[in-house]
C-alpha cells in the first residue's frame, strides 16, 4: 500500500489521471491511496512527509511545480516525484529534485505505469528491510540499507555497517546471503566481499572505495562488478 498525492489544478486532467491510476492499480495489483490536491500552492507550502509518491503538474497558476518540489525534496528524501507536463521544456530539469521522471500530457497509461513501477522499485530499495542473525551477544537485527559490505573470514560473516560498526555472524556462508540480497543492489568484488553498491564511491583498477574504505577488486569479478554498478545506478537514476 503506497500513499500517493495527486497535485493537479485542471479538472479534466485530474479526471484523466485518476482514471489511469485506477487502471494501473488493477493491472499491477499495487494498492494506492490517492489524495488529490487542486491547489498546488496549498499542497507545497504545507507539505509534511508521509507520502510515498507525488504525482504533480508542473504548470500551475502562480507557481512552477518543479521549483516547488525542491522544497519538499529538502524535507523528504524518500518521496518519489513524478511530474506531469504540457511540454518537455518545462520538465527537463526534473533531475534537480531527483524526480523519477515525467509524463507528457495527454497522459498515457503505459508511460504513467512505467514511472509508477520505477517509483515503487526505488521505494522498495529505500524501505527498511532487515537481516537477522546470531552474533556473540544474541539475535541481532540490522536494516539492509545500512550494510556497507559483508565480509567472509574463516567461515564467519562480518557485517560492516555505514557507521563503521561491524557485527560477526558465526558459521554463515556468503553465498546464502548473496541469494537473499539478490535484486537489492549488492555485488561481489571478490570472493570475500559482498558490497552494497549504494556505498561505492569509486572503482579503481584493482580496488574499490566503499564507505571510505579500500577493498580489493579481483580481476575475475571486475567486469561483472562494473556492470552491476552501472545497472544499479542507471535503473535508479
Amino acid at each position: 500500500m503506497y500513499k500517493l498525492a495527486l497535485v493537479e489544478d485542471s479538472l479534466s486532467d485530474k479526471e484523466n489521471l485518476l482514471k489511469k491510476l485506477s487502471q494501473y492499480q488493477q493491472d499491477s495489483q499495487q494498492a494506492l491511496t490517492i489524495t488529490c490536491f487542486e491547489d498546488g500552492l496549498k499542497f507545497y507550502s504545507n507539505y509534511e512527509p508521509g507520502f510515498d509518491i507525488v504525482v504533480s503538474d508542473i504548470e500551475m497558476p502562480y507557481m512552477n511545480g518543479l521549483e516547488a518540489a525542491k522544497k519538499i525534496r529538502e524535507l523528504d528524501k524518500k518521496v518519489q516525484i513524478i511530474f506531469v507536463s504540457k511540454a518537455s521544456q518545462y520538465a527537463v530539469r526534473g533531475y534537480e529534485v531527483d524526480a523519477v521522471g515525467y509524463v507528457l500530457k495527454p497522459v498515457t497509461l503505459f508511460t504513467l505505469s512505467e514511472l509508477l513501477n520505477k517509483a515503487i522499485k526505488k521505494l522498495t530499495l529505500l524501505n527498511n528491510e532487515y537481516i537477522l542473525f546470531n552474533d556473540e551477544n544474541g539475535l541481532r537485527k540490522i536494516p539492509i540499507p545500512s550494510i556497507a559490505y559483508i565480509e567472509v573470514r574463516d567461515h564467519d560473516l562480518y557485517y560492516h555497517l555505514d557507521d563503521n560498526k561491524s557485527y560477526r555472524s558465526k558459521r554463515a556462508s556468503l553465498s546464502s546471503q548473496e541469494e537473499k540480497l539478490k535484486g537489492k543492489g549488492f555485488s561481489k568484488c571478490n570472493n570475500c566481499y559482498l558490497i552494497n553498491l549504494k556505498f561505492v564511491t569509486m572503482i579503481k583498477k584493482d580496488s574499490i572505495i566503499v564507505n571510505n574504505q579500500e577493498l580489493p577488486l579481483s580481476r575475475g569479478k571486475k567486469h561483472d562488478f562494473e556492470k552491476d554498478f552501472v545497472s544499479y545506478l542507471g535503473d535508479y537514476l
Partner: protein, 433 residues
C-alpha cells in the same frame, strides 16, 4: 624426363600444396571467366611444375639448397593470383599460408614414418600419407580459411607483411630444408631425427598462428577505422543539422511574435481562433530544450521533431552542464544513435507505448546516462551488445557498437539489457577530476 622423380615430387609436395592454395578459392571472389582461368591455371601449373621438377637437380645451389621448392612457391602464388580476384599482396599471403600448412603436414608424416618404420606395407604407407593431410587440412580449412575475411589481407601493414614472408621463407623453407637435407650433407650424418621433425612442425604451426593473428588484428583495426569513419560522417550531418535547427527556431520565434502582433490588431474572433491554431502549429517546431549542453540540446531538438511527427514522446531529464568534457561529436553520436535505435524499435509498437526515456545526471563522480523504451520482442545479445533485428546487418550493427565505442573512449561502461518489456541502456562515464 625423369618421371619417377617428377611423380614423387608431385605426390609428396606439389599436389598437397596445390590443394591448400586452392582452398582459398572457396572464400575469395573469383576473376571473370573463372572456369577458363581455372583450366589454364591447372594446366599451366602442372606443365611448369613438371619442368621445374625435371630440372630440380640442376637447380640446386651449393650442395643442399633446392631452389625448385622456391620456384614452386612462386608458381603457387601466380596460380592463386591468376584465378582469384586478389591483389598481389593477398595472393602472396595465401600462397605463404598454403606453403606453411603443407610443410607442417609433410613434417608430421615424416614423423610418423620415423616412428612406424619404413618396412610397413604400401597400403599402410599410403594411409599414413593421406590421413594426416585429411586431418590438418580440415583443421586448416575451418580455423584459417573459413574465418578470415580476405579483403583485410590487403590492409596488412607492409612491414608486417614482409616480416611474415621472411619468416615463412626463412623458417618454413630454408631452415627446414637445411635441417632435413642440408645438415646430412654438410655434416655427413643423416639427421632425420624425431626432434628435428617436431621442431619443424612447431615452427610451421607458430608461423601459421602468427599469420592468422596478424590477420585478425588487421581486421579489428580496419573495423575500428570504419567505425570512426561512420562517426565522422555522422558528425558532419549533425553540424549541418545544428545550423538548420538554429535557423528554424529563430524563424519560428519571429513567426510567433508576428502572429501575436496580428492577434492584437484584430477584433474578429474567427481570425483570432485561426491565428491561435497557427501559433499552436508553430509551437511544434519550437521543441527547444535547454539542458546546459548545446550539442545535447541540438540532438534532442532534432530527434524530438522527428518523434513528434511519428507519435513518439521523448521524456528527457538531463543535466547537460556536466557533459562538457565529452566532445560535441561524441555527444551527437552517442545520443543520436541511442535515440535512433529506440525510435526504430518503437515504430512497430502500439502508439500508446511509444515513449523514450532519457535521463542524464551526475552522481558519485560519474555521468550516468539512462535510456529506456518499450520493447516486447526478445533481444539477443552477443558480447553484451544487442543484435540488430534489421536486414542490413553490416550497416546497422554500428549503432550500439558506436555507443559502446564512444563510452569506452571515455573509460566508461555501457550495459544494455532487456527486462520486463523494457529495453535499457545504462552508461556510466567517470567525470575527469
Amino acid at each position: 624426363m625423369n618421371w619417377s622423380e617428377i611423380g614423387y615430387n608431385f605426390i609428396r609436395f606439389i599436389i598437397p600444396l596445390f590443394i591448400a592454395a586452392s582452398a582459398f578459392m572457396l572464400k575469395i571472389e573469383k576473376r571473370d571467366h573463372f572456369y577458363l582461368r581455372l583450366l589454364v591455371g591447372i594446366l599451366g601449373y602442372t606443365g611448369i611444375a613438371i619442368l621445374i621438377c625435371n630440372y630440380s637437380e640442376n637447380l640446386i645451389i651449393g650442395t643442399w639448397f633446392y631452389t625448385h621448392f622456391f620456384l614452386i612457391m612462386v608458381l603457387t602464388f601466380l596460380y592463386v593470383w591468376f584465378i582469384n580476384k586478389v591483389s598481389i599482396k593477398e595472393a602472396m599471403f595465401f600462397a605463404a599460408a598454403a606453403y606453411t600448412i603443407q610443410n607442417l603436414t609433410d613434417n608430421f608424416i615424416c614423423l610418423l614414418y620415423l616412428q612406424l618404420g619404413k618396412t610397413t606395407s604400401l597400403v599402410v604407407q599410403w594411409i599414413i600419407f593421406i590421413l594426416p593431410y585429411l586431418f590438418t587440412y580440415t583443421l586448416y580449412y575451418f580455423v584459417f580459411v573459413k574465418l578470415i575475411e580476405p579483403k583485410y589481407a590487403t590492409m596488412i601493414k607492409n612491414w608486417v607483411f614482409l616480416a611474415i614472408l621472411a619468416i615463412v621463407i626463412g623458417i618454413v623453407y630454408v631452415l627446414s630444408m637445411y635441417s632435413t637435407m642440408g645438415s646430412a650433407i654438410v655434416n655427413g650424418v643423416t639427421d632425420e631425427s624425431l626432434s628435428t621433425r617436431i621442431y619443424a612442425m612447431i615452427s610451421c604451426g607458430l608461423s601459421l598462428l602468427l599469420q592468422f593473428n596478424v590477420f585478425s588484428n588487421t581486421s579489428l583495426e580496419v573495423e575500428k577505422k570504419s567505425l570512426e569513419q561512420v562517426l565522422e560522417t555522422e558528425n558532419e550531418n549533425n553540424i549541418r543539422n545544428q545550423q538548420n535547427y538554429e535557423l528554424i527556431s529563430m524563424k519560428v520565434h519571429d513567426l510567433r511574435h508576428q502572429i501575436r502582433a496580428l492577434k492584437e490588431r484584430t477584433d474578429s474572433e474567427e481570425i483570432k481562433a485561426s491565428l491561435d491554431s497557427l501559433e499552436e502549429d508553430a509551437r511544434i517546431f519550437n521543441t527547444s530544450v535547454k539542458t546546459g549542453n548545446k550539442a545535447l540540446d541540438t540532438v534532442l531538438s532534432d530527434r524530438s521533431l522527428y518523434c513528434a511527427s511519428h507519435d513518439i514522446t521523448l521524456s528527457c531529464m538531463a543535466d547537460g552542464s556536466k557533459l562538457s568534457f565529452i566532445k560535441d561529436s561524441d555527444i551527437f553520436s552517442l545520443f543520436g544513435n541511442a535515440i535512433d535505435n529506440a525510435i526504430d524499435a518503437l515504430e512497430n509498437e502500439p502508439v500508446d507505448k511509444r515513449n523514450i526515456v532519457i535521463n542524464v545526471k551526475a552522481s558519485f563522480g560519474f555521468i550516468m546516462i539512462h535510456f529506456d523504451n518499450y520493447c516486447e520482442t526478445p533481444v539477443s545479445f552477443v558480447d553484451g551488445l544487442p543484435q540488430t533485428t534489421k536486414d542490413k546487418k553490416d550497416l546497422h550493427g554500428y549503432g550500439t557498437k558506436s555507443i559502446a565505442y564512444i563510452v569506452d573512449k571515455y573509460k566508461g561502461t555501457t550495459v544494455f539489457s532487456h527486462n520486463d518489456g523494457l529495453f535499457n541502456v545504462n552508461i556510466a562515464i567517470p567525470i575527469p577530476e
